[in-house]
């Protein structure tokens, strides 16, 4: 039975982020004067004109001693060494792959930074170069860690651990990088029955929890079996919850996603994306998170 819901638009306020905990945030838009005091050093997002420090991006002013910079609220992903990212292969070149990670330049995954099947350690030969497309093709998704940053800002990735590698069946959600909280670990096995990788670049990967945990294969064997229906329902519900949290501008981390999932259980999966239901479950999630903080 088809369900079609059409409605008149209503101006909705974003419910999400709680009132600032550390006092007033100094928000600026491009062209706003931050300060006329010349004693400050200018950092990212600022420029000097007529002895005034002016913001060049829209964001929050951050002051560290004499350094003033503006952290943009919505921008492309700026990688740091050690971040975990989820990326999509866009090109296969000689000895390296180009990976799209929602940053200003495509990231680079060198052939030598990639694990060989079986965990062999040897110098990559010409045959390995010719067989690159067998490992990763255009369109494939990978999880990787940032190894270093080139001088032009492009990231160099590596998949040198068995927990990284090609990703199998699942759902990708693309969000703004500023909404993903930096934590100790970004691989979470949620108790509701699915696993999630929170890429720092804003790519969230939701997938069914693999049965055997021993012997991570590094993604060389992809499971092509159909995912059972109960797992699918959990994954769809998680995906809708992530979309709800993003629309209401709440930070994404394992606890917030889990609370949102639990708050959404009384509703049908497809109803979660309706504006009223979204507001209701995000309000409940925010309340629980505030209670948790104490």
């Amino acid at each position: 039975m088809a369900a079609i819901s059409m409605r008149l638009p209503v101006i909705r306020k974003v419910v999400g982020p709680s009132v600032s905990r550390d006092g007033e945030k100094h928000l600026v838009i491009p062209g706003d004067t931050i300060t006329t005091d010349t004693g400050y050093m200018r950092g990212h997002g600022t420029y000097v004109e007529d002895d005034k420090l002016i913001a060049s991006v829209a964001g929050v002013v951050e002051r560290v001693n004499k350094l003033v910079c503006v952290r943009a609220l919505k921008s492309r992903y700026n990688g740091e060494v050690g971040d975990i990212v989820v990326g999509r292969i866009t090109e296969v070149q000689q000895k390296r792959w180009k990976v799209e990670t929602n940053s200003r330049l495509d990231s680079v995954l060198l052939l030598s930074s990639m694990n060989l099947p079986g965990g062999e350690l040897r110098r990559r030969s010409a045959e390995d170069e010719l067989a690159m497309r067998d490992y990763l093709q255009e369109g494939d998704l990978i999880s990787a860690e940032v190894q270093s940053v080139f001088s032009d800002g492009a990231l160099s990735l590596h998949t040198r651990s068995l927990k990284y590698g090609k990703l199998g069946q699942g759902v990708l959600v693309q969000v703004s990088p500023s909404l993903v909280k930096r934590q100790k670990t970004h691989f979470h096995d949620l108790p509701c029955g699915a696993s999630v990788i929170l890429g720092t670049n804003g790519f969230i990967w939701i997938y069914p929890t693999p049965e055997q945990k021993d012997g991570d294969t590094g993604g060389f064997t992809t499971n092509m079996e159909p995912v059972p229906l109960p797992d699918r329902e959990v994954i769809s519900r998680l995906r809708n919850c992530v979309m709800a949290l993003v629309t209401q501008q709440l930070m994404l981390f394992d606890t917030s996603i889990l609370y949102c999932y639990e708050a959404s259980l009384p509703h049908q999966i497809k109803d979660i994306l309706q504006p009223e239901v979204m507001e209701e479950i995000v309000l409940k999630t925010r309340q629980r998170l505030l209670d948790l903080e104490g």
Binding site: I4, I11, G139, P226, L273, P275
Partner: protein
């Protein structure tokens, strides 16, 4: 057309999901996403509508012109579609021309049936003057399922169109003069009961889905576009895509299209009537909401 690149396991996941009637966002195969419709947002047109399924804006301008030679006592509709670069960078410069021409051609096809809009109402002076309705569609976002959203927006805009009442005065020498009525609210409205809506059915695996997202469109090789009136009559049918369709599949998809099309009309008419009844007391959202 803007499309996303997907990996093989992702496509497989979507395919298996459709087989089990549970799509990635939890919808069934015949469910539409939540759509928002608003009319009368552009004051400089005779009628306008905005549909937030894939963010489309439609404006209708009624202008005077000469009727076509084959149909001297009828007015006509002219469609033009503009794919703005705001939707996707691929539409920059001439990138969106092909898609725009395709959508416009489909609209001409859909409205080619004689009973859709009462064109005789648009006639002022047979063989000399008639109303020409210029329907301009602006695509602001490519969110999958463009044709459905465009047809919904066109129907809503035609419902909202107000054509000023004119009188033809003939004096003794035979000169005809067209007089516009003084009251700005004195106008004729179009009857949109028979205006068809397009339903796109994408074939994914062995089943078909309605209202596909960009990811689902990347997994489907063939799709069928049917235009259905509110009574369930088909006015046009078109196949798109590189893949092939079985005659049995086509029949099933047509039946689904008719069923879903009728529900679509009911839902849209309900929203339009609700908006009409609220009148000027409704807070217009426009593009700031």
């Amino acid at each position: 057309m803007a499309s996303v690149v997907l990996s093989e396991p992702e496509k497989l996941y979507i395919l298996h999901g459709v087989q089990e009637d549970l799509r990635v966002d939890g919808r069934g195969c015949e469910d539409y996403r939540c759509a928002e419709v608003e009319t009368d947002i552009i004051s400089s047109t005779s009628g306008s509508a905005r549909v937030k399924l894939a963010n489309i804006l439609v404006g209708v301008k009624a202008e005077m012109g000469t009727p076509m030679l084959e149909k001297p006592d009828e007015g006509y509709l002219e469609f033009s579609v503009d794919c703005s670069a705001y939707a996707t960078p691929e539409f920059e410069c001439w990138g969106g021309e092909e898609l725009g021409a395709e959508i416009a051609a489909t609209l001409y096809n859909v409205f080619s049936s004689e009973n859709c809009v009462d064109l005789k109402l648009l006639c002022i002076n047979p063989k000399e003057n008639c109303w020409v309705l210029y329907v301009d569609v602006l695509l602001l976002q490519c969110g999958g399922n463009l044709f459905d959203a465009v047809s919904l927006a066109v129907k809503a805009a035609l419902f909202n169109t107000r054509i000023p009442k004119v009188r033809v005065l003939e004096d003794e020498e035979g000169f005809k003069e067209i007089e516009l009525s003084d009251d700005p609210y004195d106008c004729i409205r179009l009857n949109v009961d028979d205006v068809p809506c397009i339903v796109t059915l994408n074939k994914i695996g062995h089943r078909h889905v309605v209202d596909a997202t960009l990811q689902e469109e990347a997994c489907s090789l063939a799709s069928l576009l049917v235009s259905v009136t509110s009574k369930g009559a088909l006015t046009s049918i078109r196949k798109m895509g590189k893949g092939s369709l079985d005659p049995e599949n086509i029949f099933e998809m047509m039946e689904t299209g008719k069923r879903v099309g009728k529900l679509l009309h009911v839902a849209l008419q309900k929203v339009l009537d609700e908006e009409e009844s609220l009148g000027t007391s409704r807070e217009k959202v426009g593009f700031l909401g």
